[in-house]
C-alpha cells in the first residue's frame, strides 16, 4: 500500500468518526487486571442489553486497554460524558444501561470511587485521580480498541511516522529527540537522543532496533499496560527509531508472563504489515522495516541489554562486559538500539508536537512524564502518568487516595530490586531521576509500592535480596556469591539471631558487590539493603537487641 491509499483509508476512518461524534461510546477496560475481574462478561452482557434496548445504532461498545484504577475493576466508561463505573458486574449492566443511556441519570452507587469518596464525580476526569495526571505515553490507552488499527488511525496514529518519512531526514529526527531531552524510561535514564545518535554514527549495512519489554521488576506493570492498551504506538516509535538510525529489522522482546501483551503486539504487527506501515518500502519510500516478537522465558537478568541480546540469539541470558556497547556491537555483532516500551511509546508525540514542547514538561533535568505502577497498601492502585517532578505526597494522597485503612505511611519502594525505600520524612521528594538518586533509591522502570506500618523493613530488604540471589545469572562471583551471603545474613537478622557484626559485614559486602559486579543486576542488588539501612536503621537495631 502506498501513502495515498493509506491516507484515503485514514481520512475515511476520521470522517466516519466525525459522523459518529455524538454517538454514545461505552468503553470497557480489557486490561489484564479488569479481564481477571470479569470484564469480558460485562462486554457480552452490554452488547446483548444494547440490542435488547434497540440502541445498537446509537451506541458503540469498545473493549479498550487499561484505564488506570486497576483495583476498582472491571471498569466501564461512558463517552462523551466521561462517566465511569467501577466493580461492574454483569448483573449491574441492565441497570446501568437503563439509567445512564435512557434515563440519563447516572447510577450513583456504582460510580468510580463511590465507595470511598463522599462525593464521587459524574465526570471522572474531574476526579483528583485523573486531574493530577498528564497522559502522553498512555494518551489513547483506555479510549481506543487496541486490537483495531483503525482506532489508532483516528487518534492520529502513524501520523508521526508519515511526517518523518516524508518531511524529515534521520538527522532531523535525532535532533528533535535530543531537543526533547527525553531520557530512557527503562531505569537508567540515559538520554534517548544521544543513544540514537550513537547508533546512527556507526556505519553498517545491518542495524537492529530492539524494544525491551522484559519488565522484570516485581510490582511493575507499565510496559504490560502500554503493550496491551496501545501496541501500535510502540510499533510507531520503533519504526521512527529504525528510520533515524538506519535499521531495517526490529525485535520486540516481551515477557512470557504477559500472554495478552504478546497477543496484542503480534496482532498489531500483522495489521501494520497489511496496511503497508511495516515491511518493505514503507508507504512507497525506500525505507523498509520489519518487526518480530521474541518471547522471554522468565529471567530477570534479561532486562539487561547484553543479556537480552543473548536471549534473542537463543542463548542463556548472561550479560557481557561493556564496552563494546550494543550501539557498536549488539545483536549478532551489529549496531543495535535498545529502548524500553515506554520510551518508544513517547516518541510519536514528540515528533508530532516537537521536542521543545516535551522538554518544557517536567523538571529541567528530567523532562516529560513518567508512568508509574502504583500498588501496595494504597486505596487506589493502578497505572498513572504524571509530569516528572510531581511529589510523592501528591501521588499517594491525591492520586492514590491515601493509605488503605488510614494506616500510617511507612515507605514507598521505587525501582524494584535495584531501588530503595523512601521514608515518611521525604514524602515531599520530587519524583525525578536526580532527587530519587540523592535519597539512595532510583526511578527505575516505574514500580511504586506503598507500604504501611505493618511492613517489616528488614524483611523487605531480605525479600529483595532473595529475589536478586535467585535471579543472579551466576556468571560473575561478586553477584553470585555476594547476594547469597547478604541474603543469609539478612535471614539471620530476621530470625532474631543477628549481631552488630552482621550488620557491619552486610555494609562491607554491599560495597564490594556494588563495585565489582559485571552488570547492573549485581551492581544494584545491594540498593534495597543500603536504603533500608540508611532510613530504617532502628529496625535493624531492634532485631539485634531482642
Amino acid at each position: 500500500m502506498n501513502r495515498q491509499d493509506l491516507q484515503t483509508i485514514i481520512s475515511a476512518e476520521k470522517e466516519k468518526d466525525q459522523t459518529n461524534k455524538n454517538k454514545n461510546k461505552v468503553c470497557v477496560c480489557c486490561g489484564a487486571s479488569c479481564i481477571s475481574s470479569g470484564s469480558e462478561e460485562v462486554i457480552k452482557k452490554l452488547q446483548e442489553e444494547i440490542i435488547i434496548k434497540g440502541m445498537n445504532a446509537d451506541v458503540e461498545v469498545i473493549p479498550t486497554g487499561c484505564m488506570g484504577p486497576c483495583n476498582q475493576g472491571p471498569l466501564v466508561k461512558f463517552l462523551p460524558d466521561y462517566t465511569m463505573y467501577q466493580k461492574v458486574n454483569s448483573t449491574d449492566v441492565e441497570h446501568i444501561v437503563q439509567n445512564q443511556l435512557i434515563d440519563k441519570k447516572p447510577v450513583e452507587n456504582l460510580l468510580l470511587f463511590s465507595d470511598s469518596r463522599p462525593q464521587p464525580f459524574i465526570n471522572a476526569q474531574e476526579d483528583p485521580f485523573f486531574k493530577k495526571q498528564m497522559k502522553i505515553a498512555l494518551k489513547d490507552c483506555g479510549d481506543i480498541n487496541p486490537e483495531k488499527i483503525e482506532d489508532y488511525f483516528v487518534h492520529d496514529g502513524y501520523k508521526a511516522l508519515d511526517k518523518v518519512l516524508f518531511q524529515m531526514s534521520p538527522e532531523e529526527v535525532i535532533a528533535e529527540i535530543r531537543q526533547s531531552r527525553m531520557r530512557g524510561r527503562g531505569g537508567a535514564g540515559y538520554p534517548t537522543g544521544l543513544k540514537w545518535e550513537t547508533v546512527y554514527k556507526y556505519v553498517n549495512d545491518q542495524k537492529y532496533v530492539i524494544c525491551n519489554g522484559d519488565e522484570g521488576d516485581p510490582g511493575a506493570f507499565m510496559d504490560r499496560s502500554v503493550l496491551e492498551g496501545n501496541p501500535h504506538r510502540v510499533l510507531e516509535g520503533m519504526a521512527i527509531a529504525a528510520y533515524a538510525i538506519g535499521a531495517n529489522k526490529g525485535y520486540a522482546y516481551i515477557r512470557g508472563e504477559y500472554p495478552l501483551a504478546i497477543k496484542r503486539i503480534e496482532l498489531a504487527i500483522k495489521q501494520a504489515k497489511k496496511s503497508g506501515i511495516l515491511g518493505s518500502n514503507i508507504l512507497g519510500t525506500p525505507f523498509s522495516f520489519d518487526v518480530e516478537v521474541r518471547i522471554g522465558a522468565g529471567a530477570f537478568v534479561c532486562g539487561e541489554e547484553t543479556a537480552l541480546i543473548a536471549s534473542i540469539e537463543g542463548k542463556r541470558g548472561t550479560p557481557k562486559p561493556r564496552p563494546p556497547f550494543p550501539a557498536e556491537s549488539g545483536l549478532w555483532g551489529k549496531p543495535t538500539l535498545i529502548n524500553n516500551v515506554e520510551t518508544f511509546a513517547g516518541i510519536a508525540p514528540i515528533i508530532n508536537n516537537g521536542g521543545e514542547w516535551y522538554s518544557e514538561i517536567g523538571t529541567p533535568k528530567s523532562a516529560g512524564t513518567k508512568v508509574f505502577a502504583l500498588a501496595g497498601k494504597i486505596n487506589y492502585s493502578g497505572l498513572i502518568e504524571v509530569p516528572m517532578g510531581t511529589s510523592l505526597r501528591e501521588i499517594i494522597f491525591e492520586i492514590g487516595g491515601g493509605m488503605q485503612g488510614n494506616k500510617a505511611f511507612k515507605a514507598a519502594q521505587t525501582g524494584g530490586p535495584s531501588g530503595g525505600c523512601i521514608p515518611p520524612a521525604h514524602l515531599d521528594v520530587k519524583m525525578d531521576y536526580e532527587s530519587l538518586i540523592s535519597l539512595g533509591s532510583i526511578m527505575g522502570s516505574g514500580g511504586l509500592i506503598i507500604m504501611d506500618e505493618s511492613s517489616d523493613m528488614v524483611d523487605v530488604a531480605r525479600y529483595f535480596m532473595e529475589f536478586c540471589m535467585d535471579e543472579s545469572c551466576g556468571k560473575c562471583v561478586p553477584c553470585r556469591v555476594g547476594t547469597k551471603m547478604m541474603h543469609d545474613l539478612l535471614q539471620k537478622i530476621c530470625d532474631n539471631n543477628g549481631t552488630t557484626i552482621d550488620v557491619q559485614r552486610l555494609e562491607e559486602l554491599a560495597g564490594y558487590v556494588k563495585e565489582t559486579s559485571l552488570c547492573g543486576l549485581g551492581a544494584s542488588a545491594p540498593n534495597p539493603l543500603l536504603s533500608t539501612l540508611r532510613h530504617f536503621r532502628h529496625e535493624y537495631d531492634n532485631k539485634i537487641e531482642q
Binding site: 481477571s36 518471547i295 522468565g298
Partner: protein, 163 residues
C-alpha cells in the same frame, strides 16, 4: 528412540518440527522452539530435548543449559492442575506468603513441587503484573484477584476432587 520414530509415534513432535523448519534449523530459534515444545507437552520431556538437539545439531549441553537457565522451562510435569502464587512486591506486601503457608499446610506441597498423584502442582511467579489485584493467584490459567487463603484452598479442592 530415534528421531524419526519419535516423529512417527507422537503427533506433537510435528508442531516442534514445523517451528524448527521455520527457524531454518538455526540455533538462534532455540528458545522459540522450546516455547512451542513446552506448549505442546506442558513441560520438556528428555526425549523431546534430545530430538531438538539432534535436529539443530547442537551439543546437548547447550540445550540443557539453556533450558535450566530460564525459569519458564520445566523438565518435569507441572501437574494436571496448577496453582501459581504471585510473589511480586505488591503481593508480598499484601500477604502472598500466608497463602503459600496455607497451601503447604493443606497439601504438603512447597513451590516447585507436584503432588504424588500428579493432580496438583504449586508454583510461584516473580510478578504477573496484576499488582492492582494483589495478592494474585493463578489457578489453571485463571487469575484469582485479591485472593485469600481459604478461598484458594476451596477452589483447589474443587479442582482436584472433580473428575
Amino acid at each position: 528412540m530415534l528421531n524419526q520414530e519419535l516423529a512417527k509415534t507422537d503427533p506433537r513432535v510435528k508442531l516442534i518440527a514445523a517451528k524448527i523448519k521455520k527457524g531454518n534449523y538455526k540455533a538462534d530459534a532455540l528458545i522459540e522452539i522450546l516455547h512451542s515444545a513446552q506448549n505442546a507437552y506442558g513441560y520438556l520431556p528428555m526425549n523431546v530435548l534430545r530430538y531438538i538437539t539432534k535436529e539443530l545439531r547442537l551439543p546437548p549441553s547447550r540445550v540443557y543449559s539453556t533450558v535450566t537457565f530460564y525459569h519458564f522451562f520445566s523438565l518435569k510435569s507441572k501437574g494436571e492442575h496448577t496453582c501459581l502464587v504471585c510473589t511480586g512486591t505488591a503481593c508480598y506486601v499484601k500477604g502472598a506468603q500466608l497463602i503459600l503457608n496455607e497451601i503447604e499446610k493443606q497439601f504438603a506441597l512447597k513451590p516447585g513441587q507436584v503432588s504424588a498423584d500428579n493432580k496438583l502442582g504449586v508454583q510461584v511467579a516473580r510478578c504477573i503484573g496484576a499488582c492492582g489485584l494483589a495478592p494474585a493467584v493463578v489457578l489453571d490459567d485463571e487469575v484469582q484477584a485479591k485472593a485469600n487463603a481459604g478461598d484458594i484452598i476451596n477452589k483447589i479442592n474443587a479442582k482436584i476432587v472433580a473428575p
